[in-house]
Subunit: 216 residues, 2 copies
């Protein structure tokens, strides 16, 4: 059975996966680049986005696991773009330019479906109004036996955790206090009891936590 995985999901010490006030100029709201700075500096991030250079080390090694064996992604509509409610601008094709870094089918969860968008490089965005279970069924069918990545944002990852659909969760604790934003953990009391976990801190100051679903 293919696995359902979350990678490189950064949170603050108070558990927020994104800041308040997301907009076109500030995709992460008042968190700006403080949650993901560790990731942007890695060689893995830069290669994913067609850039050279970047740092190596434990942050890079962890970041690099993002793509291996993935056949489809599911993301929330808030990750796809800053619009809320009915689409005002169907010309919006995501943050990532003509050749997005996914290179697989990507299922965007939205209450406002629109026609699929075929991009360069193998990425196709499908817009579906579905429960986590149904979305996962569609993504699995499209993934050709490979794993499915839940790409975020926080409320999407939380919904899949609440539905107990995640097999592998990689969370990165960044030593900042955001104070407000979207919590990853709200409503998930006792979540840890379903997983085995490991922690490794990095010289960059962040700590990588990996949660692997317990086999009963």
């Amino acid at each position: 059975m293919s696995l359902v995985r979350v990678h490189n999901f950064s949170i603050s010490l108070d558990g927020y996966g994104t800041g308040e006030g997301q907009s076109l100029d500030q995709p992460f709201g008042h968190a700006t680049d403080r949650l993901h700075g560790w990731f942007f500096r890695t060689r893995a991030f830069r290669r994913i986005h067609g850039l050279e250079g970047g740092e190596t080390g434990v942050d890079d090694a962890m970041a690099n696991a993002w793509g291996d064996g993935i056949g489809a992604e599911i993301m929330g509509r808030n990750k796809f773009g800053p619009q809320r409610g009915p689409w005002q601008d169907e010309d919006w094709r995501g943050w990532w330019g003509p050749n997005p870094p996914f290179h697989t089918p990507v299922f965007v969860l939205t209450h406002h479906p629109r026609p699929s968008l075929e991009m360069e490089g193998g990425t196709t965005f499908h817009f579906i109004d579905a429960t986590p279970e149904k979305a996962l069924r569609q993504a699995r069918a499209a993934a050709g036996g490979r794993d499915v990545r839940i790409g975020g944002g926080p409320s999407t990852v939380r919904a899949f955790l609440a539905a107990d659909l995640i097999d592998h969760l990689h969370v990165v604790v960044v030593p900042i206090v955001l104070g407000r934003g979207e919590s990853l953990w709200a409503g998930l009391e006792g979540l840890d009891q379903r997983f085995d976990s490991e922690a490794v801190s990095s010289p960059s100051g962040v700590t990588h936590l990996t949660f692997t679903r317990r086999q009963d």
Copy 2:
């Protein structure tokens, strides 16, 4: 100038420093021993409480910094005991038996002062109704030039952080999701900008974060 220090302060992934429903039977509420299990297993903890054995390693080394150079402690009333409001039972002398592990003056913050309690081994509990600034002044005077430890619980540490009175903060992130309880971080947005931080994870699964006040 003597420093103001916090040690071995355990929090969950969602930032809670203690659980809900604290009582005589459950001093940490529904968190039971999940927040402090890493500490109870160390040699440092066992020695502090007059016991032999215990584990060594990074958890023990971090735990052991608790007492060095400390001349007084300030704690919240909720750490001293489970009673709330006016004292119904003045026979209560804390959780720690006749010879508490502090061996210094201890200032207990309460809106209901009562006579000081002189215990065996050098610990004296003083009950004072004071702001963080005033309590710190009293504790410094009693500490004879040594450092002052802020002993918790979460609301007490938070009040001293909000007043910018902490020089050294050792927080231990435990990979559990408590869901409810007393948050360490509430109201402290941007706190990290006043400190330099380091992270080290332990094979036990917890991560030690140390925050050292920036020198301007």
